[in-house]
Symmetry: C2
Subunit: 500 residues, 2 copies
């Protein structure tokens, strides 16, 4: 633990969050759900002004930002539904069993309780959905944890305006003071993550930054869980049969997925493995040429993308299919069109240090694979963890080779798609947005979908408690009507004597 | 990462585990369940010889070890039931929904898959239930993860014999080679935890050792989850009304819980908060005097306990209620009877560095509290995280002060008991054996109860997959008959357009 001296402002924020933790944890979930809906309503009521600020600060297009704001609002409503439903509490009740296999079994009741204050680090590329009121905030508030949001410097005014709307809506809905606060500044983010009153962290951003913050969380005197979403190549595998069936559709979907939001998406398909002799060049070049220039988020990203693109284009064996461009304007902002390159599998393997890395922008690599290549054997030699992996096969194609490929992809990604493209992450109960390192720091969790609530909860069991001292979800009377998984006496074996 | 060079033996073990990971993950869960039952059967068939070796190596009594072996076998059978049931897979299916609030929603199906090879560090104090075939091994095998068991040096022959029985039973049940292996030696344990083929670690033992290993797991180039169960004071709070109602019962239960297994239990009640003037001294002294001397596990623990006991007895304000003893025999083994001391709350607070620490052995501290003390306010000033906290109140006693105390105890423990004693941990679906730091390194998990399987799993989602390429639990035909949570089209809102 560093010997930093917090500023009085930061100290107040940490103290407020700590003071809010218990009253917020104790709010009735239906009240908390209503508060989430109130935040969603407030964001949508302010959509015009928020989107305008967002466009100016990020360069993202109006339609994209309007869609993202709507997604953010819908996401809040879905978490509200999940909270009201109560299944997320994972209530388990073991009824007392005097005839248990290992001696009398006590009445044990377990559910999940909020961890306490969490600090969420906002991302630059989703100024709504992964920022102030984004998925990390929504899921932490849903769990009943006060949120300290570390604002991203890429959209400071939008951060301030959104935060004011969120805080006001939560207060108006009767939530305790201190349930939602914002800090800005890199050093402030580190200090608040180190503060003993903070009980968890979540982050979306680069591998080095995520690794640095995860290290801080793990090295605290009292370590805390840290959920970082970092980098992903999002490989795509296209079979010859799929090309025979729908090459045009694949080309159109690919270029749209690479170029949307100027490729600044964590699930952008970065590497597309295609059969050598695919013949897609002209189609891709034409589709890419029709994409209008798009501004990158900020000058730092523009500079990084330009450098990375140069390195890829200069790597031995790489040829441009659609060269695209990146032009810096007078203020250092970068304007881009898609760059699609092709490389043989052998040249990729030889030049992996230059080529096989994420490019944050509209660049993607076609990897040309000779017939008969064992892709399933190849994957572990080329790929680390990813958020997604995609397979394009033909209808009914399910040969043993394809099954083997799918099997190995599940070991290297949190989500495997069949057809379609990995950008566009549905916010639904089954969604998994996570994956083995370096896709995330913690591949047992998701940052999208209602399962994301679980990151901010821990189990507590009550043993032999009278009904009057049980929290509502564990009471036999079940006043909140939450789902309860009940193990009745005599249903299973167990143990309850002198060991422990 | 150190630049260590593994021995050929260790390299072979890591390679075997890695080679076993995929075939083991792909075993039919009913076959895996049968293999767990086969292990249970084999352990019970060899109970006589195993218990004999265990008694010689640990000093634990025959009845205790027979009970522990039975618990271990029952635990394996319960995990077998859980695997066969399939609820642990947490299958979620979102049906495709063309009318989803944010655009057409794809078919998304999510379940949990095994992490891969795990290394489990055995404990000294449960040579069966937290060792070779204990809860960590059972839950990892249940999850479908190959296990590398780091044997505890306190019971080497028992480790070797048990491991041979486990490995043989698994092989006879058709499980792949390499699903269960043993390493010994501290350096070997560290090296295997650092090996990139290992995907998770579990540990039960001391705070310094657990902190050291957790640091290694977090600092790897690819960090892995590490589930350590470390230290716990297991505070107990007794109200005046409870004493009025059943002082004798409380005294008897207390002394039994402190002295069982010579107090070498992670859930031993270490601090009992009682009203000043409780009048329990004579009863405790009498009960403690009737406890026969018991050997501690090994000379290192004996020396540590003797030192710790001296420090507590010498602390200002501490008086012996039952002084007990610790006698070292010629071979350095320690023979003990219970030591129960009393101290006022003020003296405890003043001498917290000497007194307020875990004693691994049959020592417990009565903390005498003046009437009117606000215990709920006191807890955060005295206690860190614990595995358990216990409340002894009278029937019907549920005053606001008691409710406030219970509320704060849930913030400092993974399990809160009402009456009874924390030793004796039921292996059941609702059990929570974990708690905030330093009770564990990861308080979102449990190491006892069937929820322990989840530690060794991660989610994977399939999007838009044809039935023929889906794993059995995600298939609509559901050939394994596992529970599937289905979100039908039109049931909820969501999002599925161009963002990601």
């Amino acid at each position: 633990m560093q010997e930093t001296q917090m500023t009085p402002e930061l100290e107040t924020i940490a103290a407020n969050a700590a003071a809010a933790a218990r009253p917020f944890a104790d709010t009735n979930p239906r009240d908390r759900a209503k508060a989430l809906v109130a935040v969603a309503d407030a964001l949508e009521a302010n959509a015009d002004s928020l989107v305008e600020v967002g466009m100016a600060e990020t360069g993202l297009a109006e339609a994209r930002l309007r869609g993202e704001l709507r997604r953010t609002a819908v996401q809040l409503r879905m978490f509200a539904e999940a909270v009201a439903d109560g299944a997320y509490l994972d209530v388990r009740i073991d009824q007392a069993d005097p005839a248990f296999a290992l001696g009398p079994r006590p009445d044990v009741r377990r559910y999940l309780v909020p961890l306490g204050p969490v600090v969420n680090f906002a991302a630059s590329n989703f100024p709504f959905a992964f920022s102030v009121a984004g998925g990390d905030t929504a899921s932490a508030l849903a769990a009943g944890c006060p949120v300290i949001l570390k604002g991203h410097p890429g959209h400071p005014e939008l951060t301030e305006r959104t935060a004011a709307i969120v805080a006001e809506a939560l207060a108006a809905a009767g939530m305790p003071d201190g349930v939602f606060q914002v800090v800005t500044g890199q050093q402030e983010g580190v200090e608040i993550l180190e503060d003993p009153r903070v009980k968890a962290g979540a982050f979306t951003g680069s591998i080095p930054a995520g690794q640095f913050l995860a290290g801080i969380a793990a090295a605290r005197p009292v370590p805390i869980p840290f959920f970082g979403e970092l980098g992903s190549l999002n490989p795509v595998f296209v079979t010859q049969a799929a090309l025979d069936e729908r090459a045009d559709e694949i080309v159109a979907g690919f270029v749209t997925s690479v170029s949307g939001s100027a490729g600044q998406l964590c699930t952008k398909p970065g590497f597309v493995f295609v059969p050598a002799g695919h013949g897609l060049e002209q189609g891709i070049a034409d589709a890419a040429a029709s994409v209008a220039p798009h501004r990158l988020l900020n000058p730092r990203i523009a500079a990084g993308y330009a450098e990375r693109r140069e390195a890829v284009l200069a790597a031995p064996g790489v040829r441009a299919v659609a060269e695209g461009r990146v032009e810096l304007d007078g203020s250092g902002q970068g304007w881009v069109t898609p760059t699609i390159v092709a490389v043989s599998l052998d040249d990729l393997a030889a030049g992996r240090d230059e080529i096989l890395e994420e490019s944050f922008g509209p660049l993607s690599v076609l990897v040309e694979v000779a017939p008969g290549t064992d892709l399933a054997a190849l994957v572990p030699t080329l790929l680390d963890g990813n958020l997604t992996a995609t397979v394009h096969a033909a209808a009914g194609e399910d040969a043993a080779e394809l099954q083997a490929l799918v099997r190995v992809l599940t070991e290297h990604a949190g989500r495997v798609l069949f057809g379609g493209w990995p950008t566009g992450v549905a916010v639904t109960p089954a969604m998994q947005h996570g994956g083995p390192w370096p896709a995330t720091t913690n591949d047992s969790s998701t940052s999208v979908g209602t399962a994301a609530i679980t990151r901010f909860l821990r189990p507590v069991a009550y043993q032999g408690a009278p009904e009057s001292l049980l929290p509502e979800p564990l009471q036999t009377a079940n006043p909140w009507g939450v789902p309860q998984t009940i193990a009745a006496a005599g249903e299973s074996t167990g143990w309850g004597d002198d060991l422990g």
